[in-house]
């Protein structure tokens, strides 16, 4: 696991972070639930919990789908390429590329669309950045920088858990076990040395 330079984190004593969706998006409940599930992956193992708020301006974490240049100096590039980005604590911005074919629910591996990207998988990764984790070289970790299309990877790996617990401590209810589930399709390049 890795941290951003200077190891930024949310202030000591933070127990709850609020999140809100860009009101211009009008996301449906199913999509919002995907983000709730993604936040829950991190809550299960550490001391921070997350609650949705309707007040976008005052939310700690601001989520939105944008295309191309959207004003933060990090323009999106269309289909595939860069899928999303998020900023280190305590910025809270969490942006996703509107051009992607996001699959909200169901088994993304079954998608007939070769560009289909599992929304929850990407959301779990970006929340790691929002909390202060950088990229990891552990291929099984959520914080590994790449994810192939038609792939689902939402369970935190030991590397992710150690990283987030170093920043915020452990959820007292966390029993120390987690199951990593990764499915891969399309890509035949996983032959790299681990």
């Amino acid at each position: 696991y890795a941290f951003f330079p200077g190891k930024p984190r949310w202030p000591a004593g933070t127990r709850t972070l609020t999140y809100a969706f860009d009101p211009n998006e009008n996301l449906d409940d199913a999509t919002k639930q995907v983000f709730a599930n993604a936040f829950n992956q991190w809550s299960k193992v550490t001391t921070i919990t997350f609650t949705e708020t309707t007040s976008y301006r005052s939310a700690d974490i601001k989520i939105g789908f944008y295309s191309g240049d959207h004003g933060d100096g990090e323009p999106f590039d269309g289909v595939l390429g860069t899928l999303a980005h998020a900023f280190s604590p305590t910025d809270g911005r969490f942006h996703l590329d509107k051009s992607e074919d996001w699959v909200v629910n169901g088994d993304v591996r079954e998608s007939s669309l070769s560009n289909a990207i599992d929304l929850e998988s990407v959301a779990v990764h970006e929340i790691g950045h929002v909390l202060g984790l950088g990229h990891s070289s552990v291929e099984e970790a959520i914080m590994y920088p790449t994810i192939s299309s038609r792939t689902r990877k939402v369970e935190l790996e030991e590397d992710d858990i150690k990283g987030i617990q170093e920043l915020y401590g452990s959820n007292p209810n966390f029993n120390g076990t987690t199951t990593a589930t990764t499915s891969r399709d399309r890509d035949s390049s996983y032959g790299g040395r681990r």
């Binding site: 941290f3 996301l27 999106f76 860069t82 699959v103 169901g106 990229h135 070289s137 790449t146």
Partner: protein, 128 residues
């Protein structure tokens, strides 16, 4: 586009999937240091964006496969657990074109991924 589930994806789309943003980088497979390749500057922009080339030139990147690009490729290969060759081989290009997070792997010249970690081969020990 948000699809509630994979079955909601219209069949007409499945036959018209647009190319990925970085698919064109596959043309650089096999490129070697010391030569010039049309459009290689775009790949340098990629490496600069993700922190592997620390400083952009005052104007634009050239299309030369230079030392900076080779060094970037080596660091990338180390971070992604690939064979460290400094070459744009098949395996490396296959990783480069994968969809990914836009956050840089190397920020302000530092990374905690593999390329920033202690190198075992340089380990020196002193017996007590």
């Amino acid at each position: 586009r948000l699809f509630p589930n994979p079955s909601e994806i219209p069949t007409w789309m499945t036959n018209h999937a647009p190319p990925g943003a970085w698919d064109g980088y596959r043309n650089f497979t096999g490129c070697t240091r010391g030569k010039t390749y049309d459009g290689l500057s775009k790949l340098k922009n990629y490496f600069q964006h993700f922190g592997y080339i620390p400083n952009a030139p005052p104007l634009n990147f050239t299309d030369d496969f230079d030392d900076a690009l080779e060094s970037a490729v080596r660091a990338y290969q180390k971070n992604f657990n690939l064979n460290i060759t400094g070459e744009l081989d098949d395996a490396t290009i296959n990783y480069i074109v994968k969809p990914r997070c836009g956050v840089a792997d190397i920020i302000n010249g530092t990374t905690s991924m593999n390329s920033g970690k202690f190198n075992d081969t340089n380990l020196h020990t002193v017996a007590h």
